[in-house]
Symmetry: C2
Subunit: 410 residues, 2 copies
């Protein structure tokens, strides 16, 4: 007795979804990924790191050894907390930004995106408020939406989040009876804006959050990619109790391994390990061993210098092309590190509406509205210089400028 | 200006957690993992597969080639959906259990635990009911708790879930005005009970769920590990519209790679990809390529036969030892595949209370209460025969029997 296959009907499950599922829609960035894959399009849209500097031969031999010699460990389940040696090494990495931490307080995650998702899971009930820079990382907005948290944006200037604006937003939320749970911030080489939080503002922002009883979530994937080779003191280094720190090897080593981490105050860390278990049992063991071996045996800081030089050359190419080609009335940020330039276009242009015409002209970018929970940002767009070659970047900006010219002459 | 480190206080964040976080407590199984690591303890508690049959030399060479030749792909971000070739191969794996599926409807996840977590995320609002076998998989109960779903257990007998009991539970829930969203079931070589859903019950259970408008979540990590080499028709093969199927390479290849999948009806699959993005951006690329290469170039079905033989030998050792050593009044299930035997002990014994005494006697098991949302099951315990050698299994059961004898003579 088999049940026959029923005729196709549009989503028979539509009345069954959780409330949170209604908020899940494909991001504009994601829709772009397929376009970006076409070779004739210069994609300035994605955030894929340029991995060409990785020592593939050496890595290949090392991974072979891990499997041949420790395969029964590498291919087996491990703890949800993460491998102890890797957690120690992660503390050494964080020390570069002034963080003193115990390996017990590090939880290895499947990319820092998972860290962000699980921290949100631990803290946010539906309707709780998360304060974040405006604009903010599109993947973070996705996680907040998945937990039905409400996002309040705080304005930035060229020195990062404006402390007075943060204070005003928290005061307003308190007056409105809203429960603000988290400040989500990317202090260094911000995605998408490219700006860095000024040194003088860091302690102030940490203090404001303490005063308003708001936990700080510091997301720092790009911190070691400053073009002058200097690092900025992490917010976590200023307040070990009220800051949860998210780190990642995706921009300094290899995103395809999906190894990130959370450094959390002890009690939060314990809950995070439980959340990891229910989310995925444990992070992939092999991947943790690969990262650990890489950190132990490579001049990984030297390799990051190579990445930095590479990205600086691309940033320079992009800034020069913007100067040369962009029509009057366009402005842009000047990043000191990381992957992104944030462009403001003249009034009257809608970057989301313009995108299909840009793609027809063989250039792609990320339109600004994806980076705001309220879908504002219609006059902004994000350009990534991390992946294409300098020549492609120049050609992409030239094409984009031509599309903008034609848009302005409509 | 730095903020001084404040004095330690017990969890300063205790008033900030989401409501769901209150339900997160360390599972009894997890507490056991550290004990199980001590070499003098025979652990019959964990569910770690025995990987000794894996061809580590060949695997090592293959992974080396993947990184040397395709490293820039393997170490880079990929789509949240999963690699197309792997999704095709997964359809071939599922065909062994009678499933006809399109690769587009497969979503690769970081272990099937993540699939379960994300399916729960898509469907369950707080208070929604999930119906599951009693007992049920402890990791599933953890995911349901994380989404504040309520679990209603349905009794099993030696032929698996009892259809009349399922119907009664659904009727009762409907009468009580409860919204039952999911039936979560492990039809083959059930964890923890070891039993398999009888062929004659499969279509009936699928039809009951249709009638009551409940989505079936079929979790099938052990399906290819039947000791007679036969497979059972998947519930998904009986109803492609109302069954979401969870699969895994953790028991047939390597858990440390964390590669699982979900096969879902088209509309659900689209939402699942979005949920994957917000949970972890994408599953690790390298790991997917390793599994894909393994499936393409190894006699992986032959290797599963080796696993099967290995587990059958251990099951036989366990059943023989139970017969020989266990005190009168104990009963146990006889699994035809998978990893587990489910033991009922005489009245008066509490398996959770007994556990520390068992560990002192150098044997560990999983006490029954962890497998029930209501923490019943005090007279049950789960024994795993997957990992220890037959001699260790015999010795472990002998020790356990002695502990039980002493418990009964108290």
């Amino acid at each position: 007795m088999t049940v026959p296959v029923p005729p196709y009907v549009p989503d028979p499950h539509r009345d069954r979804y959780a409330v949170r599922t209604a908020g899940m829609t494909a991001s504009e960035i994601r829709a772009l990924f397929s376009v970006a894959g076409r070779p004739e399009v210069v994609s300035l849209a994605g955030g894929m790191p340029n991995l060409a500097a990785l020592p593939l031969g050496t890595l290949s031999a090392q991974v072979a050894r891990i499997i041949a010699e420790d395969g029964l460990t590498a291919l087996q389940y491990a703890s949800a907390h993460g491998l102890p040696l890797l957690r120690e090494q992660i503390c050494d990495v964080m020390a570069l930004e002034g963080i003193t931490a115990h390996p017990d307080d590090v939880v290895v995650t499947v990319g820092s995106q998972m860290g962000l998702d699980l921290v949100t899971r631990l803290f946010c009930d539906p309707g709780d408020v998360v304060v974040a820079e405006g604009p903010s990382y599109v993947g973070a907005l996705g996680s907040f939406a998945a937990y039905q948290a409400q996002v309040v944006h705080v304005a930035m200037d060229e020195h990062g989040m404006v402390p007075q604006e943060l204070r005003a937003a928290l005061r307003e939320a308190a007056n409105a009876g809203q429960r603000v749970k988290l400040l989500y911030t990317i202090p260094n080489f911000h995605n998408p804006s490219g700006v860095t939080l000024a040194a003088g503002r860091r302690a102030e922002i940490v203090e404001i959050c303490r005063a308003y009883d708001v936990l700080v979530v510091e997301d720092n994937p790009y911190g070691l990619l400053g073009f002058d080779g200097r690092t900025h003191p992490a917010l976590r280094s200023l307040d070990p109790v009220n800051v949860v720190y998210l780190g990642s090897f995706s921009k300094t080593f290899a995103p395809g391994l999906r190894v990130g981490w959370v450094l959390a105050p002890r009690a939060v860390r314990e809950k995070l390990v439980l959340a990891m278990e229910s989310a995925t049992l444990c992070p992939p063991t092999l991947n943790q061993m690969i990262v650990s071996r890489y950190l132990a045996t490579h001049d990984w800081q030297g390799r990051i210098s190579v990445f930095r030089e590479d990205y600086r050359e691309r940033r320079d190419a992009m800034l020069a092309a913007l100067e040369r080609y962009m029509p009057p009335g366009c402005t842009w940020t000047v990043p000191d590190g990381g992957f992104y330039v944030w462009v403001t276009v003249p009034e009257g242009v809608d970057t989301k509406a313009m995108l299909p015409r840009a793609v027809a002209a063989r250039v792609a970018y990320a339109s600004g509205s994806g980076f705001y929970a309220d879908k504002s940002g219609g006059r902004r767009l994000r350009l990534s210089y991390c992946y294409p070659t300098p020549e492609r970047i120049r050609e992409g900006v030239r094409r984009l400028a031509a599309v903008l010219e034609s848009e302005l002459s409509r």
